[in-house]
Amino acid sequence: MKEYQTITEISGPLVFVETDEPVGYDDIVEIELSDGETRRGQVLESASDYVAIQVFEGTEGIDRDASVRFLGETMKMPVTEDLLGRVMDGTGQPIDGGPEIVPDERRDIVGEAINPYSREYPEEFIQTGVSAIDGMNTLVRGQKLPIFSASGLPHNDLALQIARQATVPEEEEGDDDEGSEFAVIFGAMGITAEEANEFMDDFERTGALERSVVFMNLADDPAVERTITPRLALTTAEYLAFEKDYHVLVILTDMTNYCEALREIGAAREEVPGRRGYPGYMYTDLAQLYERAGRIEGREGSVTQLPILTMPGDDDTHPIPDLTGYITEGQIYIDRDLNSQGIQPPINVLPSLSRLMDDGIGEGLTRADHADVKDQIFAAYAEGEDLRDLVNIVGREALSELDNKYLDFADRFEEEFVDQGTDTARSIDETLELGWDLLSMLPKDALNRIDEDLIEEHYREDETAETVEAEA
């Protein structure tokens, strides 16, 4: 291993070194400072006589005399089942004081694309116990469903609630296949120590830690490190899912910090920036993370992703949520208005979407009436939402009886269906029955999205009578 003391330029997170031997692109580098401290980095550009290195731990304190060693391999993650229950920093070094990790295998963290031909289409329903998700925007195994949130909103509570409550109905029935256990991988990028504590406390309190692997890059850790944290998390997830048959739920928070780190590196390299200064390859880069979710034919396990991102200025046209939305299979919106009304979790179902829902629900998966009930609730709630604007101008009296019912429906939908608190887990049956309770406020012939047989089976005749009486 050749050592160089030929640093020619240090700029932001980048170090340029003159070399006389070829160095592989993406290879890992160790930089030893004069005081003996060692930092790690990665080759960003390799030419025949110089190399550009991005230093994970920051370039502070590096001088021209620092010696640079090229390890001749790309970044690897040591993986083993024993990682469950462990807490690591953002570069994969254990920080929980536990025993040394003896890896089964060392895996390249960049990861290779799953051959679309080898994938299995995800259609197994995951019951999160959250009605607004299970009923309206169903999550399935192997999906990537981000939470679109913003500063000051309780996205972490929702993520924790899902991590705590997520089950697959077959597990409940007790006929679970051997070995397909549930594991949570938590990749934190640039979150505050307080947020980190919140997660860790919850993991410890609920005993979830023993089936979790935690990667922590905190707000005061080097930003560049954030670019590898999710890759370590996903490499571990793929190993557990596709080698050890776990159903892995990966929570990545906060993707916004990850993208900021990308921008920082792009700017330091003087690249031509894309929208709002983010690099032009951000779509590709994000896709390389998000696409590492899925199922593979012939393997038991699955990787499901739940990335969290905070939209700067609550703006979903900002490049980060925008590019994310184009890659992921839907999104869950956390809504500021609902939050200030005290609705927990404050999920706005209208702009939320689960693209894999249609194949994951229905007879044999959830319930035969699920799709129709969902469509009808969406239509009725959208109608009620529209009418709210109008009612502000003309008042309730000016509206027809049916319109008033839609308004009531929208209110009750938020208060009863969405608002369930962070500790309640509802089964899909409970969620759908609740849906029928609400839909029965509307007259039968307004339920135009539901099959007539299903209306006969589930519609609550007395419910309408009650509301009519109440109004009378």
């Binding site: 070829p22 390799s46 290779e112 051959n115 779509y283 896709a287 696409e291």
Partner: protein
Amino acid sequence: MSQATDTDVREDGIIESVSGPVVTARDLDARMNDVVYVGSEGLMGEVIEIEGNITTIQVYEETSGVSPGEPVEGTGSPLSVDLGPGMLDAIYDGVQRPLDVLEEKMGSAFLDRGVDAPGIDLEKTWEFTPEVEEGDEVEAGDIVGTVPETPSIDHKVMVPPDSEGGEVVAIESGNFNVEETVVELDSGEEIQMHQEWPVRQQRPTVEKETPTEPLISGQRVLDGLFPIAKGGTAAIPGPFGSGKTVTQHQLAKWADADIVVYVGCGERGNEMTEVIEDFPELEDPTTGNALMDRTCLIANTSNMPVAARESCVYTGITIAEYFRDMGYDVALMADSTSRWAEAMREISSRLEEMPGEEGYPAYLSARLSEFYERAGYFENINGTEGSVSVIGAVSPPGGDFSEPVTQNTLRIVKTFWALDADLAERRHFPSINWNESYSLYRDQLDPWFEENVRADWPETRQWAIDTLDEEAELQEIVQLVGKDALPEDQQLTLEIARYLREAWLQQNAFHDVDTFCEPEKTYRIMDAAKTYNDAAFEALDAGVPVEEITDIDAAPRLNRIGVQEDWDEYIDELEDDIESQLRELY
């Protein structure tokens, strides 16, 4: 992708630098756009710039671990596709490597590097039936025989477009693999089923003609309001979640083209898997055979190397043109062209080219128009007529249609299906906005609809458009004063328009019956709404209050027509009921 043969000239170079998908090499003797093999693993790449002694290459595979000093090998030929029987029912990556073969060769579900595979099976034998006899004169492009490629499609074996032609001296029927000679000409030329063609070059034709036949999509809003012609171009722009991909899938499933080439360009892996799993099980509505028998899939998911994403649309359209040369109507779906444009931007920025608008290269507009111009209804060089229709999805950032890719696309395409996030939010699918969308083919396709569906198709459609327009205007007033403040006739119009939206424009892609709607049914639903309209206004004129008219039992049944299998009888009965129930009111 074609493998270079041993006869090719090989001029080796040495890697000078590596930065992501862009590699520069020294001393490489190659032409622009030549395919080269990079590094000791032999990663496939394409020459994109030559400056002095330095050649710049975009590499179609991951470059991690590649270092300067490793060799670069030229092949002397540009990026080409393998053409011949065996392309239907196949699924390729962006450079035409069959994904099932790659899985087998790599022995893994993950895509490894440096593995190459020909685009068509070179070993498999096909049953060749001659169409010409010994002594016949043939020219470039002429069909010399057929091969039953799938139950739906007869593959036509053609004289290569660059051949001199001549007299057939030997031809026989029998089973051959694609590399065996099936025809010999007096010039000594031997013709095989296997051809190659450079992807960035349009295959020659005689003439581009004006398209007059619609590409029936089975989607009411498209066939009814915004039809596309066979040989036409269409763009589907929309923000994420508005249903671009579902619309593209619907078109790929139900469009009445002979051949469908579906290019998944930089999209989701799971979505491609859905196509791979669904299509073999679905039935082609025209032939009754498996849908996969007429489909060629190109899947370059968003996490596959960016350079291959740049080339995948060219791979797709070249395959489409090859089937067009056989006289087939081909429909190409590209989802999404924005990802292709972004791949261009990414490569361009690595080359440090001067950026145009929003960082896109200045040649964005030229590349887009070049691509869409390869669509059309053509007279082929062998005298047959064939078409390539191109339907490109566009993913504008933030749903803002003023961005460069959408704008440059709209300047070229003649059909615009605007997807609308508001409609999607209220689960109005397909969420195609009927006020913003347009089709410039409407007039030239009307004669076809008049002849093949109903003579009053254009008039009835105009009535529907007028009603929907009027609704849009009235809605603005309703937003201010409420519906009840409108005069009765306007309230009635709103009600009719609502049925047009719910019963006619909305269509459930996931319902077994509703997912495909033949033109006749499209007409009948529209006409049923008009029947209600006419009878209702008669009743209104006779003094019946609007509430009573809108309250009749029969009206809500309009919304159930879509899911009826026996729609013809259902509509007959419904129209009678509507008329009789309204007549009872006065």
